[in-house]
Point group: none
C-alpha cells in the first residue's frame, strides 16, 4: 500500500483566503479553484464578477498544475509550434492549460494539490495564485 499526502480542510481554507484577499486588494474578481494531488476538485470560488469561462479555466489550471507538477506558465514555451510538446494544450479534452495562474502545492518535494486562478490577466491570475501559496506556507 502506498501512503499519499493531500491538502486538508485547513490548508484549503488558508489558500482560498489568501488568494481572495489578494484579489480584493487588486480589485479583480477572480475564479479560484483548488485541486488535490489526484487532480480532483476540492474547492472553488467565483467572486462577484468572475468570468463564466474562467470557471472551467481556473479548475483546469489547477488540474494541470497538480497533474504536471509544474506551474502552468512553465509549460508554455515547450508547447509552442515546433517545440517538444506542441499540441499539449488540446490533450485530455483540452484541459491542459499553459497560461499563467496555476501552481502546484509542493511539500517536501511532493505535490499535494494545486491552485488555479482565472478572470484577470495571466499576470494578475498568477499574483493571486502566489498569494494563495504564501498563505499556505504561513500555515
Amino acid at each position: 500500500m502506498l501512503k499519499i499526502y493531500r491538502l486538508d480542510d485547513a490548508d484549503i481554507a488558508r489558500i482560498l483566503e489568501g488568494a481572495q484577499s489578494k484579489a480584493k486588494e487588486m480589485g479583480v474578481a477572480m475564479c479560484i479553484a483548488i485541486t488535490d494531488e489526484s487532480c480532483n476538485l476540492l474547492a472553488f470560488m467565483r467572486m462577484e464578477g468572475g468570468k463564466i469561462p474562467s470557471i472551467t479555466i481556473a479548475i483546469d489550471k489547477s488540474y494541470t498544475a497538480a497533474g504536471t507538477r509544474k506551474a502552468t506558465h512553465d509549460l508554455a514555451e515547450a508547447s509552442l509550434p515546433g517545440n517538444p510538446v506542441f499540441g499539449l494544450t488540446s490533450t485530455v479534452g483540452g484541459r491542459i492549460i499553459v497560461i499563467a495562474g496555476g501552481l502546484p502545492v509542493v511539500v517536501a518535494g511532493k505535490v499535494i494539490g494545486a491552485i488555479g486562478v482565472s478572470s484577470g490577466t495571466p499576470a494578475q491570475d498568477l499574483l493571486v495564485a502566489e498569494a494563495g501559496m504564501v498563505a499556505f506556507e504561513k500555515g
Copy 2:
C-alpha cells in the same frame, strides 16, 4: 434591459457555512455546490472524505435546481418510465439529476441560485441542502 437578481458573496458564504455545519453535525463528509440563477458555478467545497463522483453530482444537482427552478427530487416522479418527462435524466449530457439534494434559492418568487449536495444518502444530502437554505434565510 432586464434586471437580474443573483446570490452575492455574503449569501454564498452563509449557505456554505450552514450546509457544512449541518454535515459536520451529522458526521457526513459532503460535496456542496452553489450555482447562480444562470446555472453557472459560484462555489464548491469537498469536505475531507467527500466522494469523487459526488463532485460532479453536487455541481449537477445545483445546476438542475437552478435550471428547472425545482427541488431535484420533485423531478423524480415525472421522470419515471411512462411519465411525461421520462428520459430527462439523460438530457444535457446527463447533467439533470432527479435525486434529492438540490434546492433552488427563491426570493419573491424568483430563483436567484441553487445549492446541490452529494456524498451521503439522498435524505442526508437533502438535510444538508435545507440547512444551507435556512442559513440563507436567516441572513
Copy 3:
C-alpha cells in the same frame, strides 16, 4: 495535510493476476480495470476476445466502486425507477455503473482502490472481480 492510502504496484499485479487466472479458468475473456482511491486508472487488461464496450465499462465499474465505496451491484436496487437514486446511472457522463463486476478494495475501513470487470455475464464479471480481491488479501 491528509494522509491517504492507495494500492501499490505489488497490489495491482496481485489483483490483476488473481482476476485473470479466474477468467482463464472460467474460459471467459475479460476486460479488467484497477483504479486508485481517487478513481483514477492504475491498470487495465483486455484479454484476447474481451469486448470493446467492456473497455469503458470495466474502467467505469472500477471508477464507480472506488467513488461510491460500494460494490457496483449494491447500487442497482436503489437506482430502480421510483427508488431514491433513480437516474444515478446517467450521472457523471454515464460513468456510474450499477451492474455487477465492480468492487472496492477496503483496508481497515478505508477504500484504497477498486477493480472493475466486464465482458461476461454480470455474475461472471463479479466472480472474476472477487478472485482479484482474494488474491489481494492473500498478499
Copy 4:
C-alpha cells in the same frame, strides 16, 4: 472476408515488460498504454508516481500511433501552423497527439497495434516506447 493481425496476450506482456524495465532503469514512473490495430485499448499500466493527465495522454498516443500508422512525433511537423495538417491536434476530441512517445507496432508492413508512453519528457517517453518495441521484436 478480411483476415486481421493483432497483438496477442504474449506480445502485450512482452511490450509492457520491456517498457516498464526501461522506465525503472531510467528512474521515471510512466503511464504505458497498448492499443490494438483498431485503436482500442488492450492494456494500460500507471507506475507508482505516473501522472494523472498522462493516463489519457498515454492512451491517446497509442490511439494516434495505431490510427495514423506513424510514430506520434512524425506528425508534429505537418501539424505546425501553415503546414498541411495544421489543426490535427484538436481533431477526434483532441485525441490525436503529436508529441513523442507513441509508436505503431508493424509486422510485414502491417500495423498490428501501438504503444503510447507519457509522464516523462517527450524524449524519455520515446525511449521507453522504443524499449517496448525492442522487447516485442525479440519475442
